[in-house]
Symmetry: C2
Subunit: 346 residues, 2 copies
Amino acid sequence: MPERGTVTLADVAALAGVSLATASRALNGSARKVRQESVDRVHAAALELRYTANVQAQAVARGTTTTLALVVGDIADPYFAAIAAGAIKAADEAGLVVTITSTGGDAGREAEVLAVVAGLRPRAVVLAVSRRLGNDADLGASVSRLVAAGAGVSALVSDLDGAVAGVPGVQPLVIRNLSGAAALAGALAELGHDSFAVLAGDPDLVTAHARVEGFVAGLAAHGLRVPDECIVTSEFSRDGGHQAMTTLLDRAASGAASLPRCVFAVTDLMAVGALAAIRERGLVPGVDVGVAGFDDVRMLADVVPAISTVRLPLEEIGARAVRRALGVEADGAVDGEVVLRASTAR
Amino acid sequence: MPERGTVTLADVAALAGVSLATASRALNGSARKVRQESVDRVHAAALELRYTANVQAQAVARGTTTTLALVVGDIADPYFAAIAAGAIKAADEAGLVVTITSTGGDAGREAEVLAVVAGLRPRAVVLAVSRRLGNDADLGASVSRLVAAGAGVSALVSDLDGAVAGVPGVQPLVIRNLSGAAALAGALAELGHDSFAVLAGDPDLVTAHARVEGFVAGLAAHGLRVPDECIVTSEFSRDGGHQAMTTLLDRAASGAASLPRCVFAVTDLMAVGALAAIRERGLVPGVDVGVAGFDDVRMLADVVPAISTVRLPLEEIGARAVRRALGVEADGAVDGEVVLRASTAR
DNA sequence: CTGAAAGCGCTAACAC
DNA sequence: GTGTTAGCGCTTTCAG
């Protein structure tokens, strides 16, 4: 029984009665031609032996891998999960296997993770991480090492693209958070909303920052503004949204300030938290105070009231990012689409 | 400038003035001892050259990889995403890189995907896919090939575990859907509910099937039963839940049957769909008709009314699955925990 | 403790 | 067309 440990190409070649080289050529479309009969014999042998080529060995021999590395902040986050889904699909279509590493949102781990990724010698890498303002230097360094090692790199960045976009060899896919948020602001203004607050999340996050900037700018274009004290920061999460909204509510309750009639949360998750906070005070979200989010997280479609938001084609973004990294996609920008729903009905 | 293309161990050895062998031994804890001075010189050289070992080459030489393959149904599904997150974390702790492949829920693609996975020669593989009743034979074949190739395999299965659990070398992690659903049924019965329906999802899915069975059995233990016509099948999705619930509602409206006062959806997503359907008819979910789900999807925590469910520690499940595949976890079963909330308040 | 050399499984010139 | 023979980058005996 030849079924012992692992079957190698040599085993197949032997069984087929051809040389290693011929077997290799028969099993994958090499440039060289192989007589049909040999091809058949080799295939038969491979099948009989249940041979599966060792990808690692092929990579070493060829000097190039079939791996696409995807680095995400947190795969459990629906935002990244959706991007990952799109990326996996596109990579699959390109015959690449996706390797996912997670930074856990920890900027410190980022360098470490990228070092591991570099060891993989991926054909391309897609970076879908939560960038923080400032610490772009080291990221830039790690990334240029990847590029030097031959990997095409695509990064998903916000409008405020820092280091990465500047590194040669990087094909950024920029998500236009700025203009998306501005468009949302405009739409809300046209709905007649005129008193706003922003649940800004973590101001150090590039994404959050850009959305706040965009929203404020969009409002300004309509002659409206958000008082500084109405831009409240918190964690970039459901609970952060809940907490920030509670702060606003508390302030109004104590008479320290009036309650804004419309609140923009920089992500749907925060918007959901805000909804809960509003409800806890006995107010009706969407009526007493409007709430808008960003991303259009699918899973939140049934939240009541339905959340007005800026829809981002997440899966498509993932797919386009891999295509960019592979160098087959020219367009490097993605726009969000404003979707008005019941949460800001007035 | 040595920074050209890729830096190899030979470059490092040369710069450090030692042999290839010594450099190799210095860079990773080989059994053999290396003089401290040499170690330092090698490390210095590696640092200077920005050397990163080629993982593939190491794999070929060592005959073993540092890859853990995770096969999921659909990474965009929060259920799988959570499992993936836990798996990635645990793999990371074991020094393994995770490769994710998605079957897209397509049983046909499964064999294909597993062939690719086999080529990766992963140290271990975790199968987190939606199994269908019946077609276990081929899966079993593919899996035993993986096992033969030296991979530890862990599969997440329901109580109704078919082929996989039987394949030698497989360390199944069984999720006790049956008893979880039974416990939920019991809890609802004790709450006083006495008229039930089940939104069964796709009856061919092992998971859905087990949950229905368990629920029915749990009810039976309390002397209650679900009329056959009240077990309605549909897609295993949010929309499926909506549609199935609508069917029930229609029936009641036409006087063909009375409306069950409590509905069990085999997954939270379906429960959400059911909530929406109930609301569309002007009824109040949680009051006019109770709804319970399964999984306790985190993202759905803010849905109103809060959904009673069976909580599954998804991330932990992912982590344990990799530990099982690695052979370091003995316990092969996971229990869900019944969580009663407003949706079944009565 | 260190180096030379033989692989690991496969590919790619380079001959025949 | 097909076989021979170098490698790919790294690990690991086996001698010093």
